[in-house]
Symmetry: C2
Subunit: 946 residues, 2 copies
């Protein structure tokens, strides 16, 4: 025959194996594997995905000669089952199921009981002596075939069935007697004819061929296309079709059906778990009409079958080297395996199973590490709602809204609308969900007093989100469905209103907001299996893992989670503390004048030195004038700095001590100074009010002066304003104070025998002259302090690489002698300027629209944009290391804790990633994955990254 | 002698020439050239700059053998003059002057009358019979030598001379009799001894050697170093020393001195101009004690000398091929040339001379084009204060402050503090200088009514600066010395206060603010020589020159100035016009809701199509719900758009018609929508006031609702917010309206037989999906309109390249079929995001400090930053053209009119630069310079660029 020339289009289950998923789909490949292993699989075969593609290429026609191959394959089933397809005795029924390479649950179609017609129905009745069973099967077949093959919708048939039950006064399907079902089948065939213009096919091969084609067509139904788009599955893969002889679990008490796992999918315990039902079909288990039994019950009722099942289960797991999720059917006392696949499991089970399997000698440590996703490690670190409780809440309509999942973890508490109230409520022993339109630094105290944070505006990098993630507090932001009314202390959603004190439950991992209480379960610490797994990950990874921490407590926590350094210690949070904020504010209000006069003075003194005799007198007069003008602001300014210095020293002392022996990267002051000032809108409101009312003229004068200063410092685009190292150039005394405090702290520690290792990070450098100027300042101040103290401190100076321009001139910036000794990518800001997106604004406005409409594949503030931002980073690393081969390069943006971004950092050859303490374990695992995936073919398609 | 082995250290004037400036300095090279040409130059020689460098390399010692060479060179002068240096008869006196490669006026030192001592004084008296003259010369020599060589300051001597005159009751130096001067010389020598511990040197060679060394040392005095730093002159060049025999113009009525130009340096007229004085020295001309005579007077008094001088002058100009600035002295009836150099001249003279010289056959057109700087062309386009008037104003202390020179031109008018008042004042026929802290779009009317604009804040790209440059109105911004009080309508500076109606004069080219009136002169149009010169420039340049214009009037003006296209037509200005602003505001207030519901509807409809039967009913219910909610905002939204459409069509019709035959690049809406809304602060103030007073509750409710909307649209960093093409994605109907209006206008013109050529520019693209989505929209709408109208329009679609990310993905963006057909660099925004600087904020805060302290060489918003921004542009051009070799690339940022930036665009191979209409002539010239300088060695060190 000519077929020998063409590719094999149909594989009997006995001909395939588990590695043929591309050709046979997932289900087909596993059925073949089980068949080859000698397990009892009802005979069948798989039509390959290539036939599906041929079908489409061939203008939706099955290829020539396919009919013959189909008959040949059916012949094989007939032989194995000793049955005849369409036969009037021992009639063979089959199922036709789709089966693509990647699981697309419910997206494509299935037809059961195929092979029934007027003749075979009789044969079946004769054989089973159960006409109700046979007509019920026939009824279902006609309906499924109509729906799937001829697009005559199910509900038309269901409507008739319901009408029948009503007429008979019956409630349950199984109460309908056989003769009524027989009549119903006749009616169904009439409906079919009316809708399609043709008789319901009696020819079983016609039934089969039309069904195979229908499954192929279902690959491109609208739902399937939408699903694949969403899951990024290639539309050209095609689906396979599995044709398998039917077995029936509903043929009496010696029949049954069930699903089982080789281990406990909730806890990971090494024991088979599952459920089964006697005299039932798979549908019945799913429909939940009858309560299934625990699989262990089978041991009592059918010890032999149970033993056989356990044996198969054990062998399957060993064979697949992973926990299996199996479906089986018992037909009149005989066990059939219908499906096996790697089982879904909880985070906890995932970790335990991976580690156990290593100890059992089943898999390697690398494989174990690869099996667990960073998200699962993340889950283990946060409180969570038990699956069952959450399901219950959703089913009872308690899910009121969904926002942006800003910080994972579950929390349950009463709604409180003001930070101050949150503190009070906490003192009264209450659990608080701080519920606000947004948060500001002023709310820090209240946030710290809350078990969860919920905002109606802002994105995943808004203030609330950043702080919550840093502190490990569950948080949902940008929950726009909530209409907040802070004055009335309430919010509404739909037609419901929630007031202060009402209970809310939020799941920060999913963004779900529930009304009422769902108790959250909090894991005490990382379970021991997770710790073991992470230690293996540490052996694998090449990237270092640091943490971002601004105080000794966070530093200690980071160390406990396995961080080997601090990649970002922000000094601005230190300025916000309530005892120093007044000093900071006073300082800011005079800093501009003080430093401006100082610059004038310096310039005049230079001019004086260079001047003609004739001009000197004039210049000297100007100098006197400037000196007089600067006296007051300068005194106030330096006095404030002098007060802040010892506090800063204390801050640095604490954190350097907590991280003894590890490098601590301390960033000099970064945000625009007006962030430390009183709120502009509020000050304005007070001024206007005081002006109108005429009350308290003294306060008015004060506040007017304050408002004028605030307005002077006000910026249209503070993100692009007077901040980062620009502060150090415009207000040099401020940076000098910080550097001096840092060296004084380090010197004191060295004297105390503590190995303090500070790295001074200059934020936002864009021009090499900024770097040179501030490097020189740090070295000067540092050497002065070390000389005074008589000790040496091991320190480095570097820059935060967070501007596109820094990336373009990285070759100049990197310079061990007078430039940067290290780079740390500040990818939050770098993403902002590369895209021209403000985190604060974009997250709530256009980024959601962009992601929804597919303009952006993903929010670039969540996963690092390799194409754009990544290209600039590559440029910076390449040029920087060309200039200075030992340049240390890391990342300290939010991306440092995100797996796909971590992989990119690995590929870029960075030295380390730095993330919030709570994400350190995640980063350790993701860094190992990055190494495995990119340096070992076996792990190419690993977990977790896009 | 061993000298033959070393380099030649001293060049006689007869040995050098004008091309040896590196070695002999400018002055020495020109003295040598004139000597070689046979003109009467007092004999002398030049010690090379190499000796200066040897001197420094040799630890500040003159090289070995130098003394012998010096004596040999002096011998040559002695022979030529028939005098003896230090001789007791026919004694030779010399001057010792510095002379570097680049002129450093007044920075280094000069010693005259060197060679006088006790003996030679006697010889001089004997020869001149004029002891007063000789002792006066001796007095001066002692003083200069003390000051320059021994650092005994001049003023000590001057003090004694003053005391002497006081004792004698005399006022003028020349009234002091010889015997008193003789005594004074003795006193001076005593002072010298007291201060230096040694006798004043009698040995003339000691005098000479010490003086040469002193001139070398003066190269590194503080003033000279500061000057070189400021002018970017290499510190390693060193200075030459010119030793020249003295001639005296003060030896009686047959002696004299003068300066002259070969042409008129004010007008460029081809006639010798200059001034001279009989019986005087150069100093006397400079000191202004006596009024010099016009050089033409010489013809009457000394026709022979005058003829000789004219002959020399003509020959020098022909020889140097440029207007010369000459110094001469007449000693007892004999003419000596002391200096010649290329003359400084006004802009007008520069252009006229360059063009005349081409017609005279003296220089080529290329040379003429190269001789004129873009700044000079700029000067010709703007009103200016006559030099003399400005000088007078400065001398009388009328210069009250200096700000940033934001838009060139001089203006004189009364100070007005509010835009509305400016309009009124103009209507009353007054000239107005609009004087404000800053300007906003609301002030546009008032700005248009003003002859000049002066702001106390903001930088060179602030609103005031941008608008003023666009409209060609003289403008000074960021004049921080002025304390504005808009409430009182006054400002103060120092201890002066200026009120509404006070006269001010501002020079936008220099940033100078004067009190009182200085009448400005306004050129009618570009003088005909300039037009001729620019036509030559057009023949030379490769870069096209387009203009930025938003309306037909500006487009026509641009065309008149020689623009061959519109590189940027902003559509937002059209939205601001008073007749449409209310419609625009109404539209904005509903746009967000309308489009959000529309997206929800689309999503639901998709879901419906993909849904299970079972879920359809629910989805249909949601659809009804959304439809109900969107009805009102959608109706308002589309109604507003429908009202705006014909207005937009009119805008586009006008500009496309004005630019018939040329491409017009129209940018779709760019700024964040809240820019069109009422001012937030003012609305807030009204709301607070209404709340407190309780008056007008209806208005309160209205304004509260408005404020809520404004707050919702408010952004923390609008520059990085919902703007540019993001508007087109989030508010698709808005962009569709613009595109439809554009195509309707173009179709109508085509029907009228007008060659309309629109290019649609999508602003702020950062991701290829933005480009693809909007390109598709433009093509769809365009084809629809063209089908409706039945005509074809020649159009292109492209993007404004203004984000770093756009540069990194330019290879994907450039795509003739579904991406960008052209790029236009928006370097204002690209500079903002590359540096992370907000124009609005940085200009007034840290950029001035950065430029002052040398962190930045120049404000990157003024001259394009080649290192950072330029690297990204290079990437974009390279990748873009790799994808699509015919990609059209231009620039439309402010840099498009700045010469150094234009040169960079030429080097990058851009197709065109686009700038404001008033800068088109400048760009035409600068583009020619860029070509000449980079493709022809003769023009390497041309005019105008840094």
């Amino acid at each position: 025959m000519s077929k020998t020339m063409t590719k094999k289009r149909i594989y009997l289950f006995s001909e395939g194996n588990k590695d043929m998923k591309d050709l046979l789909g997932g289900k087909g490949a596993n059925l073949a594997e089980m068949t080859s292993m000698g397990f009892p699989v009802p005979p069948g075969f798989t039509v390959t995905t290539e036939v599906c593609n041929e079908y489409y290429a061939n203008d939706r026609k099955l290829p020539e000669g396919f009919g013959d191959e189909l008959r040949e394959a059916m012949k094989d089933i007939e032989n194995k089952k000793n049955q005849v397809f369409g036969g009037s005795e021992n009639t063979l029924l089959v199922s036709v199921r789709s089966g693509a390479k990647f699981s697309m649950p419910g997206m494509m179609d299935t037809i059961l009981n195929l092979g029934l017609n007027t003749e075979t129905v009789k044969a079946m009745i004769k054989k089973t002596n159960n006409p109700r069973f046979v007509f019920d099967a026939y009824r279902r077949f006609i309906m499924m075939f109509s729906d799937v093959v001829m697009d005559v919708k199910k509900h038309i048939y269901e409507h008739e069935f319901k009408a029948l039950k009503a007429r008979l006064g019956l409630k349950e399907d199984y109460d309908v007697p056989a003769e009524e079902l027989e009549k119903l089948c006749t009616l169904f065939k009439e409906i079919f004819k009316k809708n399609t213009g043709r008789d319901f096919p009696e020819d079983v091969y016609e039934q089969l061929t039309l069904s195979v084609e229908a499954v192929f067509r279902s690959w491109n139904n609208e739902r399937a296309i939408i699903y694949r788009n969403r899951e990024h599955i290639d539309h050209n893969l095609g689906t396979a079709v599995n044709v398998q002889s039917m077995v029936f679990g509903n043929m009496g008490e010696q029949s049954g059906t069930g699903v089982a796992f080789t281990r406990n999918s909730q806890t990971g315990e090494n024991v088979v778990t599952g459920e089964f039902l006697f005299n039932a079909q798979g549908e019945d288990v799913v429909a939940g009409i009858r309560t299934p039994l625990d699989i262990s019950e089978m041991e009592k009722s059918h010890p032999e079958l149970y033993k056989q099942f356990l044996d198969i289960s054990g062998k399957l797991e060993k064979h697949y080297k992973d926990m299996q999720d199996m479906e089986f059917t018992i037909e009149e006392g005989k066990l059939y395996m219908l499906q096996t696949r790697n089982a879904k499991r909880t985070a906890m089970a995932s970790v335990k199973i991976a580690v156990d399997m290593v100890h059992e000698g089943l898999i390697t440590k690398e494989e174990a590490v690869n099996r667990v996703s960073p998200d699962q490690i993340d889950m283990l670190l946060h409180p969570y709602f038990p699956v069952s409780e959450k399901k219950k809440a959703i089913e009872s309509g308690k899910l009121i809204a969904k926002g942006i999942n800003a910080s994972p973890g579950a929390a349950c508490g009463i709604a409180i609308f003001e930070a101050a109230d949150a503190i009070k409520a906490k003192e009264e022993g209450k659990s608080v969900i701080l519920t606000r339109p947004e948060t500001t630094p002023d709310d820090a105290g209240g946030m710290n007093a809350s078990v969860g944070i919920l905002t109606s505006t802002g994105g995943s990098t808004s203030h609330a989100a950043l702080v919550a993630r840093g502190w490990g507090i569950p948080c949902i932001v940008g929950c726009e469905a909530l209409s907040m009314d802070t004055e009335k202390k309430q919010f509404s959603v739909g037609n419901k209103t929630f007031k202060e004190g009402d209970w809310l439950s939020i799941d920060g991992a999913t963004g779900e907001v529930f009304e009422g209480k769902i108790p959250a379960i909090k894991p005490d610490e990382l379970m021991k299996e997770a710790q073991e797994l992470l230690s293996w990950a540490d052996d694998i990874r090449r990237l270092g893992v640091y943490a971002n921490a601004d105080n000794p407590r966070d530093a200690q926590r980071a160390r406990n989670f396995g961080a080997h350094g601090i990649g970002l210690c922000r000094t601005e949070h230190m300025f916000m503390e309530s005892d120093r904020l007044p000093v900071v504010q006073k300082m800011i209000l005079v800093a501009g004048d003080a430093e401006r006069f100082k610059r004038q003075l310096t310039r005049l003194e230079e001019e004086l030195a260079a001047a003609d005799e004739s001009k000197k007198a004039n210049i000297e007069k100007s100098i006197e004038h400037v000196k007089a003008e600067m006296a007051e602001p300068w005194a106030t300014y330096t006095d404030c700095l002098a007060k802040l210095a010892p506090m800063q020293k204390g801050d640095f002392y604490g954190i350097l001590k907590a991280m003894e022996g590890f490098w601590v990267i301390i960033r000099l002051l970064d945000p625009p100074l007006h962030e430390f000032l009183p709120n502009r809108d509020e000050t304005m409101e007070e001024v206007i009010t005081l002006r109108i009312t005429g009350k308290n003229p003294e306060r008015l004068k004060e506040q007017e002066a304050l408002l004028e200063k605030i307005n002077k410092l006000h910026e249209f685009n503070p993100m692009l304003g007077l901040r980062v190292c620009r502060l150090g150039i415009v207000y040099p005394s401020l940076y000098r104070m910080q550097v001096r405090a840092l060296f004084e702290a380090a010197c004191q520690l060295v004297k105390e025998g503590v190995d303090a290792k500070p790295e001074i990070m200059i934020p936002g450098v864009g021009h090499v002259n900024e770097m040179k100027t501030l490097r020189k300042m740090v070295d000067e101040v540092g050497h002065k302090v070390m000389d005074e103290q008589g000790v040496k401190v091991n320190y480095k100076v570097g820059t935060m690489c967070e501007l596109p321009r820094a990336c373009t001139v990285a070759g100049k910036l990197a310079n061990p002698a007078e430039g940067a000794q290290f780079f740390s990518f500040g990818t939050n800001d770098l993403t902002q300027t590369t895209f021209g997106y403000s985190r604060d604004d974009a997250a709530g406005t256009f980024i959601p629209v962009y992601v929804e409409t597919g303009i952006l594949p993903v929010d670039p503030f969540q996963a690092l944009d390799r194409e754009g931002v990544g290209r600039l980073m590559t440029m910076a690393v390449t040029d920087g290391r060309n200039s200075y081969s030992d340049l240390e390069v890391g990342i300290c943006g939010e991306h440092g804790g995100e797996p796909s971004s971590i992989e990119f950092c690995h590929l870029l050859g960075l030295n380390y990633v730095s993330c919030s303490p709570f994400r350190v374990p995640i980063a350790r695992l993701a860094a190992a994955h990055a190494k495995l995936r990119n340096e070992d073919d076996r792990f190419k398609s690993g977990h977790s990254t896009k």
